[in-house]
Symmetry: D2
Subunit: 385 residues, 4 copies
């Protein structure tokens, strides 16, 4: 675990107990479909979390967030079950949205758009656009969606893709081009002008509501729905950026710890060629590599959280962590599958799901290559002449 306050340890301990006792027994529940747990099931899980005092555990009563280091501790605990992170309401994109709204939204907007999410409703972040249209993906400057002023209102039009949790969300945050830059808008969902066109069938499958293609068709919003300043959307995205990357890392590190434990247990139990798998160096070395890489992930998370806690935006630090941790967690999950052989390919073990989720994570929040590209730019800028 990263360096902890007693407070964070205490919260993480409660989250751990809740997940172990109440959530893991539900991981095979039939209400979890290929596109994630149903909205009704999510609501039920969050009721359980509320009752256990672990709903939205990284936000204190009153709305203050734990420090980034503390949050890392709590989210690693929550990630121990993919369903657990959903249950306690620290999953993407909600967690990142809560953070940004906390930082940027007015009190009135917080009451209307943030408070329900803190209480267990869901939210969606309408940023990514279809690749087929050459819309915004890794390169946010390619934003195609427009918001046009019309009297006191804005009219928003555009196509969005990979909108996680769009179905069932109550709060939407929409990024659109406006004169002088990009602007974020808040919208209550569902909304007739926010049309869910198609649910994508993706390799990952834990995020409630799945991933959607969405059309924004003459979405009219009043000025009160502008988040922060007009034209400042990209700078708010930066506020959200590094913390959201980091909580992704924390959650999936937690999940990989679980996968590793399953693989260790399997390898200690299963015999082949005259001894337990774990006694074969070909297996034992893979588990040793897991141990090393999980520690490196934990250390990098702690480091970046510390940088964030110091007040920095941690843009390049979080790029380093996202690139390194994304790849490392995938190697860990992949080794767990491999160690478990055929069993590792089945849904009889959480390992298979973790493998799929972590594969997606190498792309979500910026593919590894985009982070390396940004780091190379930075190295160039700082190179001696």
């Amino acid at each position: 675990m990263t360096q902890d306050t007693a407070r964070a340890q205490e919260i993480a301990g409660r989250v751990t107990d809740f997940i172990r006792d109440q959530i893991i027994p539900l991981e095979g529940d039939a209400r979890i479909h290929a596109h994630g747990p149903t909205n009704a099931f999510v609501a039920e899980l969050r009721e359980m979390a509320r009752a256990a005092g672990v709903l939205t555990p990284h936000v204190l009563p009153g709305g203050a967030h734990l420090s980034h280091r503390e949050t890392a501790t709590v989210l690693q605990a929550a990630g121990y079950s993919p369903l657990g992170m959903v249950a306690v309401n620290v999953a993407a994109p909600d967690e990142g949205n809560m953070y940004m709204l906390h930082k940027v939204a007015t009190p009135a907007q917080q009451a209307r758009f943030l408070a329900p999410v803190l209480a267990g409703a869901r939210s969606a972040f309408f940023m990514t656009e279809p690749a087929a249209l050459q819309g915004a993906g890794s390169d946010p400057s390619m934003l195609l969606t427009t918001a046009t002023p019309d009297g006191e209102e804005w009219i928003i039009n555009g196509e969005k893709a990979f909108i996680t949790g769009a179905e069932g969300a109550s709060t939407g945050i929409v990024m659109a081009k406006t004169p002088g830059g990009a602007t974020m808008f808040l919208v209550e969902l569902p909304h007739p002008a926010v049309r869910l066109k198609r649910q994508l069938d993706t390799l990952d499958g834990i995020m409630p509501g799945g991933h959607w293609e969405v059309s924004l068709e003459n979405l009219r919003l009043p000025a009160a729905n502008v988040l922060g300043e007009v034209g400042a959307g990209m700078s708010y995205a930066q506020v959200r950026l590094a913390p959201a990357r980091l909580t992704h890392c924390s959650r999936w590190l937690g999940a990989c710890r679980r996968a590793h434990e399953e693989a260790v247990a399997y390898a200690a139990r299963r015999q082949a060629f005259g001894k337990a798998l774990i006694d074969h160096e070909g297996v034992g070395f893979q588990l040793a590599d897991n141990l090393i890489e999980m520690k490196q992930c934990e250390l990098m998370i702690g480091w970046v959280a510390g940088v964030l806690d110091s007040g920095s935006l941690a843009i390049s630090e979080s790029s380093m962590a996202k690139a390194a941790i994304g790849e490392a967690l995938f190697r860990i999950a992949d080794r767990c599958v491999q160690v478990m052989g055929g069993t590792g390919l089945t849904s009889d073990t959480i390992v298979q799901q973790v493998f799929r989720e972590v594969r997606a994570f190498r792309i979500y929040d910026g593919p590894t290559e985009v982070h390396k590209w940004a780091l190379a730019k930075k190295i160039k800028r700082e190179a001696p002449r």
Copy 2:
């Protein structure tokens, strides 16, 4: 492509045309479920293949098989679509079963158990046993299923797992311990003593009939159902072993070629940071690595096929190929996903399926580690003293 005869090239050309024109348009068909295409859909596809003259294309009229080199050419063509390999009836486990029955079964057995499979029926190979019971997996010596003589008959009891295609198969081959060794038995399916207990939910999903846990409950078979000699089951498994490994490699190389082409097309089309993805070295180098590794796979397949054609069992050569190609194809498929970003995670592209299938392939037919273990043993045996 590997070195070809005109005959193999001609057949592969017809398979290629058939898949491009008739099968690829059906890849999104709703009759393909998480556990593979439905039996009815498979039957329909095979009718199409028969009509196009490409059903079971690696077996000549009269029953002779193409050479291993020729087969490699044809199966690489068939693998271009995962559904294609099913359609033309060269998929696992049928292709390996056909080969073994052709080599070992009596004419009467061939008429009864092989001929339907050649004509498009399906078969299953009951070898693997549950890990939870410490049954046979990578280590075949751990076989627990028993066949006990009872007058003129044998009574077979045991638990099997990961029995691919068990549902809907008409021919079963069962491996069981008998006095003096292990023996293979033939059984017509479905059979009341062959109880399908549970369909596994696996990462891969193209094999018709999916993967099953099966109980053999006092399965009574007459002596006529013994394949070859009593006690010689392991040696027949060896006959099947290397060719089956190799055709797996050929099929999935074909599929990875397809995935690579999709990734190239995407990278040439999609813009980011001011230029096409393919103009970013971070992407272009991944595609170059694919090019290199696909060529290495092709060369290894050609080499092992040549060894088999020379009459060798090619045990260690096929271990080298399976280990190397399994890992290489996974890297290729993984790079294709990565290059395509979010799109690569969706079922909008065949890349995602190829990724899942090839992940499983690293475990099926012996995990990479088992092959390296066998190779290390061989190196030791041949080391200078």
Copy 3:
């Protein structure tokens, strides 16, 4: 840098200045041979370090050592030049020997055997034995050298190999089998019964005195030369073990930082195919990988140093760090060579030397595989049953 005290930062700052101003200009000195700087040159460098107040900078006046975290900071600074770590007297094996003698030796022994080393004399650790004799290497239990009691004295016989710095050392520490275990003995060098047989020609080349095969031929030592308790030699080796691993990591991380800076400067300057190398992603991504891995090394060093400072022997933690950091630093150095092309292969850049030294480091202090083997054992011990 790892978390620092002001004291460590101040010392490290002085070391940095000294190395930059006085040592780097001497890196091409003709008195550095294939087997390291000559003894006379080392003496001269240490005179310079003494004058600059940076000789043996990790040991305080009075003999107390800096904390492990502080030491890590100082040694990373010293490692910035391979010659620098020699100059300021923090190189292997002296640094590890100083630590162990400080912990275990009696005051009289410290005066006689430690004080000179703190003042800039050199020492050697006679542990490793020839592989050809199946002597102690990675597996210390294979120790062949014996010490036999003879009245008040011990008579030591055996063959040692890879004895770093044997030529020119004034203090020797000899590990030998004794009744009831293994024992360490102290010896003043040179000594006629400690015969330097052959200097090994190795890939690395910075350690003064090089690496030697040594015969111990009826080496007679009085009881006063026993370090600590008879039979407790292995436990003292454990005291030395983790700190020595860690300082190795710190020194070579410092050296890799230097190599990386050279590679960055080269890549920013050198043009190819129409732009600076650094503008090619194929180069920039390698430098980004360096940045990430240097940070991971730094974090692991800080973590293990903290564990040591807490009073633990940090056996498995230091195994994790040695395995991970050894491999990471090699990748870093290798990328630096590759980025610099032909220039990186020449002694015109320190990069080439760092590459050679770090290659050796993957084997010194336990090859990576031995650490993974130990970690796998630990995972097994702690596995759930």
Copy 4:
């Protein structure tokens, strides 16, 4: 071995015998310095090779070259000892120079410049220029050296770097810019206007004459010394390119086979932790990886040689092979070092030298990254639109 003619096998057999019986015993000869064997020692070795009938074994009496496939077989045999490739006169740059002169030089030029090299004299290829001047390296279009017509003569001026074998060579081939392109010139060496400025101290060390920085200072050459057509120098470089890349691959594959055999023998002999190293999967798997990768290298060499034999320039095929084989051979050599532990770091085994040579090979004849860059360009050119 690649597919062979009886002729190639017979020649390779003789080369193998010669190297085993006469060259390997000389590998530790004191006349081999850091910059390679002395010129006198090379002359002596080639006298031995001539006496054994294996001097320049890939060129038939009369001057015809073996086919590329045959050459691959012979050079793999020659590479079994780094000194062996020198002894039998198939080393770089001579072998590539012989090939190009055979293809391009006039009969008169062949008599004057090629015949001595075939008979055991040495040659140098003056192409590369200093990085510090932004001269030609991986990007040949950056050529700075000029040749200016002056009546019937050309006057050549420029700086060259990394000129292998410049000292002691009798034939030089100089690339220089001329009106309309680049031109190659032939020059008898030593020549007062070809000034050897500085011998580089490089990681590798087998090439006779070492690597030099050279100044061309008003080098006057008559028209008869122009190789082929004025302005066609780059196209001749292309003729030399792929075959020279391939023979590099063949030679170093031979050397890696040797290193692997040494590592296997060591691992079979050396005990640790209760069994032979080879019985540890952590070691055995590395040796298995070597086996697989050596086979892949052999197959790629055979493939590219076949493409060359079919009349193609094999530019992209040889890029694929150079990139893949350079990296693979390095991994192989690196594993051999690692398996042998401390011993692998010493010159007591050829493994250490092979490691250094193969490290350099990843850069010589185009760094891996340049080949991937070229392949990515090709993939883009051929991408569907």
